[in-house]
């Protein structure tokens, strides 16, 4: 569904991505792991159109979205949940979800999806009339994910969803991602929490200072010695 080909992206003189290629196929969960500063967020930003690659291409459903305006890319079905979440603070939980359904006009479908999201995240149902700003970090993360789901995305990109969350909430987030896997949603998951990310993923890529150094199935990467040493605490 998504194919990134040999993309190079720079911030001025700094080359953040040096020829990155990756693929996400329909119905699979792909994890992108790597240390801080490896370029993971840069890659997501390039896919969503915030950044333009200096060379290479990004294809979505066979068509190039390279250089397309951000809002157009979103309307094509690529939704990103950013770190920092982007909650509309002066709107209620329910309103935030309604805003997610911006591009849709099927009232019944919207109501149905909202119920589905409240089933998934009961805490949001409990707080549906509260302002976004009054939610805790974990709740905001769930709201951000829920809101993205309201748009019925074809591809959902999650940028460090577990960042800054208490361990119990981290578990909840990854449980949700496992649910997504069951539901055969197409997900690109960027995470520093390598272990959890690879446990959920069908396939994974390891990004280090702007290049993909490893790729394979989630299970294979979990077992690989390099990944173990660099990201999973290694063997003594």
């Amino acid at each position: 569904m998504l194919r990134v080909s040999d993309v190079q992206v720079g911030y001025g003189a700094i080359r953040a991505l040096r020829g990155v290629s990756l693929e996400v196929m329909e119905g699979e969960v792909v994890a992108l792991i790597g240390a801080n500063g490896a370029g993971k967020s840069t890659l997501l930003r390039t896919i969503s159109g915030v950044l333009r690659p200096s060379s290479g291409d990004v294809l979505f459903e066979g068509q190039s979205i390279c250089g397309m305006a951000e809002d157009k890319i979103v309307r094509r079905g690529i939704l990103q949940v950013q770190e920092g979440r982007g909650i509309l603070t002066r709107m209620t939980v329910q309103e935030n979800l309604e805003m997610g359904a911006y591009g849709r006009s099927d009232k019944a479908g919207i109501r149905h999806d909202m119920d589905m999201i409240f089933d998934k995240f009961p805490v949001l149902r409990a707080r549906r009339k509260q302002f976004g700003a009054t939610l805790s970090g974990g709740e905001q993360q769930m709201l951000a994910i829920g809101r993205a789901l309201m748009a019925r995305p074809k591809l959902l990109m999650l940028d460090e969803p577990s960042l800054g969350l208490a361990p119990m909430l981290v578990q909840e987030i990854f449980r949700t991602i496992m649910d997504f896997k069951q539901e055969k949603r197409t997900i690109l998951l960027v995470e520093q929490n390598a272990r959890k990310a690879l446990q959920c993923a069908d396939r994974g890529y390891v990004l280090e200072t702007g290049t993909i150094v490893l790729t394979g199935s989630g299970a294979a990467l979990l077992k690989s010695e390099e990944v173990q040493a660099a990201y999973l605490g290694g063997r003594a």
């Binding site: 809002d71 990103q80 509309l88 603070t89 911006y102 591009g103 976004g132 700003a133």
Partner: protein, 275 residues
């Protein structure tokens, strides 16, 4: 139905409501625009020239007074799309001033002398019919796609983009819509007041409209309706106080604003909504 005097008062209130509501279109996307009075002037002068000199039917004149400001609104809206806050307010204020000076000097529309002898074509039902239309429109706006887009743009432009909103287009459309309504307000005013002159369409009128909006609640459109209705009727009521009218008018506004700074009808958001 009503006697001439009452009809006149009601028409005046209605036109003020229309003009105030015209501000709420750009405000719905978070743009404080003081240009409405400029579009009102354009609508008023254009339509008057049509009915007065070219004997155009009223309907066509209203149409012209809607379409020309709409087009100008699209153009000018594009120019200001990147501006925010104070700079935006100044730019729209400048627009109004430029329009005013233009009509001051433009002889075919009467320059400094203005246009008189305008036919009294505005009827009560025209004005209140439009008010009703606008009220219905704003009621339905919240639940519509464009309404959601506007709410998001107002709240947080960056987030709006991440949800697929074409932010510049939404802002320009809102601005142009406000211009259109202001233009129609201008026609209705001209054919009610029967005399228009450049000096009316200036800072005083703009400030009055802004006061109506702030009084009633700048965040909610029905605040504009209340503010315009109450504050344009108040001078009539205050007649009894004779030469203290203006002071009492001002005092009432100050009093209400100090007790309810968000405006009479705006919700009391004393919850700390900072994340």
């Amino acid at each position: 139905m009503f006697d001439r005097y009452t009809e006149s008062v009601l028409t005046n209130i209605g036109i003020n409501i229309i003009m105030t509501l015209s501000m709420y279109f750009p405000m719905a996307v978070g743009q404080l625009s003081i240009a409405q009075v400029g579009f009102m002037a354009i609508g008023a002068h254009l339509a008057t020239v049509l009915t007065l000199y070219l004997h155009t039917p009223f309907g066509l004149a209203v149409l012209a007074a809607a379409l020309v400001p709409w087009s100008l609104g699209l153009l000018f809206g594009r120019l200001i799309v990147r501006l925010q806050g104070l700079t935006l307010a100044f730019a729209t204020f400048a627009f109004m001033e430029v329009v005013q000076v233009f009509f001051l000097n433009f002889t075919p529309t009467g320059d400094a002398r203005g246009l008189k002898g305008i036919a009294p074509l505005t009827q009560l039902w025209h004005v209140w019919g439009l008010v009703l239309l606008l009220v219905l429109f704003f009621c339905r706006l919240r639940h519509s796609r464009i309404g959601r887009a506007m709410a998001m743009v107002k709240h947080d432009e960056v987030v709006a983009v991440t949800l697929g909103v074409n932010v510049p287009q939404t802002k320009v459309l809102a601005f142009a819509a406000g211009a259109l309504v202001a233009g129609v307000g201008g026609v209705l005013y001209a054919h009610y007041a029967l005399y228009i002159q450049y000096s009316y369409f200036g800072a005083d009128k703009a400030l009055a409209l802004l006061t109506y909006a702030v009084f009633g609640g700048i965040d909610v459109w029905f605040g504009g309706v209340l503010g315009a209705a109450v504050l344009s009727y108040m001078p009539v009521l205050l007649h009894v106080f004779d030469h203290w009218r203006l002071e009492i008018h001002g005092a009432i506004i100050l009093g209400v604003m100090s007790m309810r700074p968000q405006g009479v009808l705006a919700p009391d958001l004393s919850v700390d909504t900072r994340a």
